[in-house]
């Protein structure tokens, strides 16, 4: 997305969601990520860092995003940010231990191009961490409804099923290591903090997938 994306024009509104309407949802998702953090080699990068909410909460020091206004907010949160797109090859090969994409894959033009680039910049033994709203989940259906109504953010989103995500990862040189599910409360009914559950659950609103980088030649 260019500098004219809704993530620039509505940056303040986007960032405010984490403190008002989405406050508990955000806390639930952060709690779920904390379950996988001990598995993840450093250094860490977040692709689609936005305003740096997750990066700050999870201790991710470096982030990229094409949206200028969001990056300015992320910078104030102490994140080292670069204005760039995930498809572009501007990091040296094998620079990171872990790359996070948190509700980002749904907004990129080419998921395959982004995943291939993530594969390239990960070190041997590196991991990718996806934070996902799956298309076939209650929250996926909720956001698809917003997309159809022309929501400024979600009209640009493409949500994927778990099967599609697994195929994307497999085709770009990753093997899924762990899945964590959370957000079992329904949209507009989130009232309390939840504990995440290991595994894939169809009624979860937010799914975390951790996958290992494998060499293309090493895959079966």
């Amino acid at each position: 997305m260019s500098g004219e994306s809704p993530f620039d024009t509505l940056a303040g509104e986007y960032d405010a969601w984490f403190e008002d309407e989405g406050k508990i949802t955000f806390a639930i998702e952060v709690e779920a990520f904390r379950r996988v953090l001990p598995l993840l080699p450093r250094p860490w990068l977040e692709v689609g860092v936005g305003s740096g909410r997750f990066a700050q909460a999870l201790g991710i020091k470096i982030g990229i995003d094409p949206a200028t206004k969001l990056l300015e907010i992320a910078k104030r949160r102490g994140i080292n940010v670069f204005q760039a797109k995930g498809e572009e090859r501007f990091f040296q090969t094998a620079s990171f231990g872990t790359v996070f994409l948190i509700v980002t894959l749904c907004f990129v033009n080419s998921p395959v191009a982004v995943l291939r680039e993530v594969h390239r910049i990960l070190k041997a033994g590196g991991k990718i961490v996806l934070g996902l709203v799956l298309s076939d989940s209650p929250w996926g259906r909720f956001y698809l409804g917003k997309k159809k109504k022309g929501h400024p953010f979600y009209k640009h989103a493409t949500f994927y099923s778990y099967t599609q995500i697994a195929e994307l990862l497999d085709s770009t040189g990753f093997v899924i290591e762990k899945v964590v599910s959370t957000l079992f409360q329904k949209p507009h009914e989130v009232t309390e903090i939840e504990m995440p559950r290991d595994g894939l659950f169809p009624n979860a609103g937010f799914t975390i997938v951790v996958a290992d980088k494998v060499s293309q030649a090493g895959r079966t």
């Binding site: 260019s2 094409p66 910078k75 670069f82 204005q83 760039a84 572009e88 090859r89 501007f90 040296q92």
Partner: protein, 53 residues
Amino acid sequence: MDILACPVCKGSLELTVTEEKDDEVITGSLFCAKCNHSYPITESIPNLLPPDL
């Protein structure tokens, strides 16, 4: 700087500092001699979007 490369040719980038504060580059540029293209740093944020964006 060590982890960065030119997004077009993957060559190395040369940092020019215009303004610095507390060891942080506030404004400046990252120049690729091979492409003869300069990527600006504004408000401490390097812009590595390709030239056509």
